[in-house]
């Protein structure tokens, strides 16, 4: 047994060293991102590694972590050593900035307010649209099941929520109580609340739950693409939100690791013409549409988009606490009437 023990310990030590070696062999960047960008960054990362190698001779590996946007921000604050964060919304990067890891003025460091791509929220319904869902109104009807993730943890879900709010505001003539009533009715129709957008898509697409999925436009297109247009169709509501997922270098981490140069180059790379083209190909709306293929752009429907910077919301700094803080509007709509 003594010998066995020694063998086990040696094996453990050896495998540890084996695991540790590649980490030091070349430059590694960690991109902490939100849920639906998996496919996009797979493509971008490969292209960037190739370009960086050609330009500098250095090998760079980009590691990815995906999850609900709020949850990812939390992990970075708690010590996940991200070089860059590419999250679903400004508020989450602000949270990271508040902890001192990112410069407060991060948004002005890159073009287009640090959002190399934008998107919006559309509906994904089952083929033939059996519940004839046309607009946000149809989501609050009795018997319609809506799939959307938890706004507390998912960035996409916060955009979903704000889009519904914006629609209600326009419809009921800026009456906050009626807006609240509207979103409350909408969330009453939600049977599953996943923590991230990808979880919701899986619930809707794979598990066959719900009549309509509130989805990122790119996620909806991807679902059509991956799973066949014979199963689902996209419905574009009359009004939606202009979702601007931003990116930022995590200053403290890159300075500690000495990766600032490559991290900055990586984010700037997102604005390059051929990457902008790839972004459009992956169903994100590029910040610089002029570089994208016309046929890719033609896929994006024309829809009235409300920005979070609209006076209705007053930007993320105001919208986040008003709607999503503990005990704020979103929590209120979930409380049972008796305890409210």
């Amino acid at each position: 047994m003594n010998k066995h023990l020694r063998i086990i310990t040696t094996a453990a030590a050896l495998s540890l060293t084996a695991a540790a070696v590649p980490a030091f062999a070349d430059t590694t960047l960690l991109n902490v991102s939100y849920d639906p960008t998996r496919e996009l960054y797979k493509e971008v990362n490969a292209a960037f590694a190739k370009e960086w190698k050609e330009k500098t001779g250095e090998t760079v590996t980009i590691e990815q972590s995906h999850g609900g946007s709020g949850k990812q921000a939390r992990a970075v604050i708690d010590g996940l050593k991200a070089d860059v964060v590419t999250l679903a919304l400004e508020g989450d990067i602000d949270k990271v900035a508040e902890s001192g890891l990112i410069d407060k003025d991060w948004r002005s460091r890159l073009p287009d307010a640090s959002s190399p791509y934008t998107s919006t929220i559309v509906f994904l319904v089952r083929k033939g649209n059996p519940k004839s869902i046309k607009d946000w109104d149809d989501l609050v009807k009795e018997g319609v099941e809506v799939i959307t993730p938890n706004p507390k943890t998912s960035g996409g879900a916060r955009w979903n929520y704000l889009a519904a709010w914006a629609y209600a505001d326009q419809k009921y003539g800026h009456d906050e109580e009626k807006n609240k009533e509207f979103v409350k009715k909408l969330y009453k129709n939600v049977p599953v609340l996943d923590t991230g957008a990808r979880g919701s898509t899986t619930t809707f697409v794979q598990r066959g739950i719900g009549d309509v999925l509130l989805a990122w436009e790119n996620e909806a297109f991807l679902a059509l693409n991956e799973l066949g247009e014979d199963k689902f169709e996209i419905v574009v509501p009359s009004l939606s939100i202009k979702a601007e997922p931003p990116v930022a270098v995590v200053d403290k981490n890159v300075d500690a690791k000495g990766t600032r140069k490559v991290a900055e180059a990586y984010l700037n790379f997102l604005y390059q013409p051929d990457v902008q083209k790839a972004i459009a190909k992956n169903y994100y709306r590029p910040a610089e549409p002029k570089y994208a293929d016309a046929k890719d752009l033609a896929r994006f429907p024309d829809v009235q988009l409300v920005s979070v910077d609209d006076p209705l919301f007053g930007g993320w700094k105001k919208a986040q606490p008003e709607h999503f803080a503990d005990g704020a509007v979103f929590d209120q709509i979930y409380q049972p009437a008796s305890t409210n």
């Binding site: 507390k152 599953v192 609340l193 598990r207 409380q335 305890t339």
Partner: protein, 282 residues
């Protein structure tokens, strides 16, 4: 602690190594288990009693804790009933493939919970193997508290079987014969003679299954639906609070659950002590 006199920590013994073994075990437990758990309790304590109370009595927390407990109680109850039947069948009867079945009872201990979670979801989702049969009848399992119950029955299944089995094996058949000789019908013998003797073992298994179920996360989150106030279990709420930067809430709920599991653990030890006193050593 008979035999340990005065201030001595241990009774004298010729066997060496107490200091090393005891010291190592205690340090290890301290570093891995006690100090980290203590850190959580300290963090929760920094909220103050009022702050702590506010969080654990928050309606959503209460709903999550209640859901966790009620579903765990029902699951442990189901496992107690079927666990006794399974243990009985495995000990008393002979039938084909019995050994295989016996070995299989431990599957929930060996199968990773995430695997169990996606497998159960694949079975009970409305388009799943069983779910598609139940859906037309209007019965929804996955994404409802019923789904949680199924997952908890799965993970708690071995506990009662494995606590009852050895006791039943060592149960003296002569007592049953005596009861029969004295004119008791078979059902009377079972319910008045055999079952009472199994009660401590059943209770132990029940409490262990309950403790496991209350804390279960991996298998449940895939099948639960995770709707606040409806199908959101307490461990998931801890994760959600943590992900929302709510360290205070997460630690407070965690501490509340820790107190509860500590209570269950004490209960198990009390039952076992009682069993030893009443029925001799196992």
């Amino acid at each position: 602690m008979a035999g340990i006199s005065g201030l001595a920590l241990k009774r004298p013994s010729v066997i060496p190594g107490f200091g090393l073994a005891f010291g190592f075990a205690l340090t290890y437990l301290g570093l891995i288990v006690l100090i980290p758990l203590g850190a959580m309790v300290v963090k929760a304590a920094s909220l103050g009693l009022a702050g702590f109370w506010d969080i654990v009595t928050n309606p959503r927390t209460v709903a999550a804790l209640r859901l966790s407990f009620v579903t765990s109680l029902i699951a442990a109850g189901i496992n107690a009933v079927f666990g006794v039947v399974i243990a009985w069948v495995l000990v008393r009867y002979r039938f084909p493939a019995k050994r295989l079945l016996d070995a299989f009872v431990d599957l929930p201990f060996a199968l990773p919970t995430a695997v169990a979670g996606i497998a159960l979801t694949a079975i009970y989702a409305p388009n799943g193997w069983i779910g598609s049969w139940l859906a037309p009848l209007g019965i929804k399992v996955a994404y409802t508290p019923l789904g949680i119950l199924i997952a908890l029955v799965f993970i708690g299944l071995p506990f009662v079987v494995r606590t009852v089995q050895p006791v039943l094996e060592e149960f003296d058949r002569e007592i049953e014969e005596a009861a029969a000789t004295l004119g008791a019908r078979r059902d009377q013998t079972i319910f008045r003679v055999v079952l009472p003797a199994l009660i401590p073992a059943i209770l132990t298994g029940f409490a262990l299954a309950l403790a496991r179920a209350v804390g279960e996360y991996g298998s449940v989150i895939f099948i639960a639906g995770n709707i606040p106030y409806v199908s959101e279990i307490a461990p998931l709420l801890i994760v959600i609070r943590l992900e929302e930067f709510g360290y205070a809430e997460a630690t407070a709920i965690g501490t509340a659950m820790l107190l509860i599991s500590f209570g269950l653990l004490v209960f198990v030890h009390v039952v076992q002590a009682w069993r030893r006193r009443r029925f001799g050593n196992d």
